[in-house]
């Protein structure tokens, strides 16, 4: 299926912003707008509607209730949220109402609604897409989008709406966490995202971490945010190694022409130290270093623990 990706789309940086109507998701959208302004990227705004698999509505399809809302002239939540997102982009000057638009509808088996999208394209071929999607659950719907067009970054709000509060939550973790674990690209989970405090980049000296530093620094620079570096040694004896990691990362940044604001070396449990230091920054960037899928599921990694415990936004780089 060649959905959003087309001849030009493949070369551009592609950002998927998940909109759920929460304040955090619009914060994420603001950040996406800043990024896409600098990177000239395509942005897709996605709202996922879950199919009622468990037949929770007691045998009456939810669509009956939705149609009834339409009959009263009320807008359905998904459409309302996406429109609000579009208006926000227009207000920020990221898109103009005059961009030519194209609407597409795709049928999805088992629902009367199907997938709907509106695609806005400017003269340079840059796209902003509003998409309303139906999926078996929200997280799967978001992750599946990657198959349709290879995204480089997923942005989603860590609002509690993504959480499924129920006794069964142990088996269905928060949507944000599920996506961060499974998504095949970098994921930014926004919490009170304020650009002014700068970004904290974590390194453990590995090749992956350095590659991540390079990309994350460039992204931050594009948005005009100051960059800082942290490395954590688990024991006092390893402090010199952590210092070397920081120095190495600093060199990478200086080579790129970016002067890091702070460099921090801490000793202790990596998760606690990063979360604690991260309080001073608006975003913590960690790289997903564990290679084995199994290990990730059963042990969890520093990246995901930081994601869970951090007070501010976290970007997991892949």
């Amino acid at each position: 299926m060649n959905d959003e990706a087309d001849a030009t789309g493949d070369k551009r940086f592609r950002i998927l912003v998940c909109i759920d109507g929460s304040d955090e998701s619009y914060l994420g959208l603001r950040y996406a707008a800043k990024l896409s302004h600098g990177l000239d990227s395509d942005t897709v705004l996605l709202y996922v509607r879950a199919i009622d698999l468990g037949m929770r509505s007691g045998g009456l399809q939810i669509s009956v209730a939705r149609e009834n809302m339409l009959k009263w002239g009320l807008e359905l939540p998904g459409i309302k949220y996406l429109k609000k997102g579009r208006d926000l982009l227009i207000e920020m000057g990221e898109m103009a109402p005059s961009w030519p638009e194209q609407s597409t509808h795709t049928d999805v088996d088992g629902t009367s609604l199907g997938d709907n999208k509106i695609e806005y394209t400017n003269e340079q071929g840059r796209k902003i897409v509003l998409k309303l999607k139906v999926a078996r659950d929200i997280a799967t719907g978001i992750i599946d989008q990657w198959e349709l067009g290879e995204y480089d970054l997923y942005i989603l709000g860590a609002s509690e709406k993504w959480r499924k509060f129920s006794l069964a939550s142990f088996r269905d973790p928060a949507v944000a966490e599920k996506i961060a674990v499974h998504a095949p690209c970098s994921v930014l989970v926004t919490r009170e995202l304020e650009g002014s405090l700068g970004n904290l980049l974590c390194t453990d000296g590995s090749e992956r971490a350095e590659e991540m530093i390079r990309r994350a620094a460039a992204l931050s620079y594009t948005c005009g945010f100051p960059v800082s570096i942290i490395s954590v040694a688990e024991e006092e004896e390893e402090r010199s190694k952590a210092e070397a990691n920081v120095a190495q990362a600093k060199n990478i940044l200086v080579d790129m022409g970016i002067e890091p604001r702070d460099t921090v070396v801490r000793v202790g449990n990596p998760v606690d130290e990063i979360v604690d230091e991260g309080k001073k920054y608006s975003m913590v960037v960690v790289s997903d270093t564990s290679r084995s899928e199994l290990k990730r599921f059963f042990m969890g990694s520093v990246a995901f623990k930081v994601l869970e415990e951090s007070k501010h936004s976290v970007m997991v780089m892949r």
Binding site: L53, G58, L60, Q61, L74, R163, F165, L167, T222, M256
Partner: protein, 504 residues
């Protein structure tokens, strides 16, 4: 562009073989996710296979063990939903034929009874009723009766939703009343932040009003019909006049349960106002606009009157004739009448009803009957009772509370109809083993199955109202636990005081 100055390739920092390797890892990740989503299906199947190879416990026949395994596997699948629930229903049918060696026609026969017919008919009626344009009339009626004070409007919404839901099912009323609630909210203020608490109170008035009403009459929800079916199948013997008390008809059910609904109704508004203090004490602006909107629609037209009349006829049918022709037949008659008169099209019914629900309940009931026939239900009940006796919950109010807590726990994890279908055979056997009345225990189970106030997905009305997008999942949690306590107390008080005075 600033980024290009940095000479960083954002798309993929790797080239050549590393790029290919990376794409392969990404694909593998997606594939892994697909498998990971099905993990509960595999786990359930492994547990099932393991149970079948276990040595037979004392007092359980081989057939009983197979049934027990089936219900454990089905329960895991009901809770974790790795496959669509109608798929579980099909698995139950297959397992009965393949594992139990039952005749295929016998399995098919055990699936259809009056309760299933009733569930199917009620769902068709639900769509037919929502398709009539009666919601605006009802909204008008509410605001004309209550005036403009927020608390009175909310009580009016709960009361009217509840009374309607008690007869035509909570999902029907929730679907009808949702636009009424949202219209009142949006007419008060366009900014959702300014009316956040008001929105919660109005929408939860609808959903909890419907939820507490779902137990009031047999037609309030599928679970009630399932329980009536179980009583009849398990305990009724046409040759023994002693067992006639196990035939619970529409009126008898109402006598037991309607007062419980009426008792809870004012508490809904009280609890909601006590928990969320809405921003607006008066809704006159919204009410005036709503009145104008409704009046623009003109007066009641003849199809509207016919729909109302038809519904009254169905109600009369349930009350007076259901013991002769069955409640299911009356529901089917009603749906047919709507089709014959042309008030609803078959296409609407076909799209609006989730037919999988009918299949699911049919299979769950058939499994419940086999649990009873093979003695598996009795075995579980006796063992459960042995656990309860040391806790002092082996009889009387202790046992009632235990059954209520068990049902509340299960119903918060799966749909309430499925909870009653799975638990019914066990708790009814528990009642006989403990020397309690199966009717009392049955009512307690049916009622507790509506105490799923804690989650978005707990009751049909909550699910539908949540679809509006105005509520957070935590809203249900914040107020839900209070509702659970209140409802449990009302239930236990009725079981101890009210029911004995009317003779069970």
């Amino acid at each position: 562009m600033r980024a290009q100055k940095l000479k960083v390739d954002f798309k993929l920092a790797a080239k050549g073989t590393r790029k290919i390797r990376r794409v392969v890892t990404m694909r593998w990740r997606v594939l892994f996710l697909r498998l990971w989503e099905k993990r509960w299906f595999l786990i359930a199947m492994l547990i099932g296979t393991g149970m079948l190879y276990l040595p037979l416990p004392n007092g359980l026949t081989e057939q009983g063990m197979i049934m027990l395994t089936m219900s454990v596997v089905a329960t895991i699948l009901f809770i974790t939903e790795p496959i669509p629930l109608p798929g579980v229903a099909l698995l139950i049918i297959i397992a009965q034929v393949v594992l139990m060696g039952m005749d295929s026609s016998a399995v098919a026969k055990s699936m259809w009874n009056d309760s299933v017919l009733f569930i199917m008919g009620s769902l068709m009626l639900a769509v037919a009723v929502v398709k009539q344009k009666l919601d605006k009339r009802i909204a008008f009626l509410i605001v004309r009766m209550t005036g403009t004070r927020t608390s009175r409007v909310c009580f009016g919404i709960s009361a009217v939703s509840g009374i309607l839901a008690s007869f035509i099912g909570e999902h029907t009323v929730a679907a009808m009343m949702l636009p009424v609630g949202i219209t009142l909210i949006t007419l008060t203020s366009d900014d959702p932040k300014k009316v956040r608490k008001l929105a919660v109170v109005i929408l939860l008035s609808i959903s909890y009003g419907c939820s507490v009403a779902g137990i009031a009459t047999p037609s309030g929800g599928a679970r009630n019909a399932i329980m009536i079916g179980y009583w009849k199948e398990f305990f009724y013997d046409p040759t023994n006049p002693e067992t006639h008390k196990f035939l619970i008809d529409y009126v008898k059910w109402m006598i037991f349960m309607y007062p419980m609904f009426l008792l809870q109704l004012p508490l809904v508004t009280l609890v909601l106002f006590w928990t969320f203090k809405p921003e607006y004490r008066d809704l006159s602006r919204a009410v005036v606009k709503l009145r104008r909107q409704v009046e623009a629609g003109g007066s009641m037209k003849s199809p509207d009157w016919i729909a109302v009349l038809l519904f009254i006829c169905i109600l009369i049918g349930w009350i007076f004739f259901s013991d002769q022709v069955g409640m299911g037949t009356v529901a089917i008659m009603g749906a047919t009448a709507f089709l014959v008169i042309g008030l609803v099209s078959w296409e609407d019914i076909n799209i609006g009803v989730n037919w999988g629900v009918v299949l699911l309940y049919a299979a769950a009931i058939s499994m419940g009957l086999q649990m009873k026939n093979t003695g598996a239900a009795l075995w579980v009940a006796e063992n459960f009772l042995n656990l309860l006796v040391p806790l002092g919950a082996g009889e009387g109010i202790g046992l009632w509370a235990a059954v209520s807590v068990l049902t509340t726990g299960v119903t918060n994890m799966m749909s309430n109809g499925a909870a009653v279908a799975v638990l019914g055979p066990i708790v009814l056997n528990l009642a006989t083993a403990a020397g309690e009345s199966p009717v009392v225990i049955g009512f307690i189970t049916a009622m507790s199955s509506s105490f799923a106030y804690l989650t978005v997905v707990g009751t049909p009305a909550c699910t539908i109202v949540y679809a509006s997008g105005y509520l957070k999942a935590t809203d249900f949690l914040v107020v839900g636990w209070k509702m659970v306590i209140i409802s449990t107390l009302v239930l236990l008080a009725s079981a101890a005081v009210y029911w004995p005075t009317i003779g069970i």
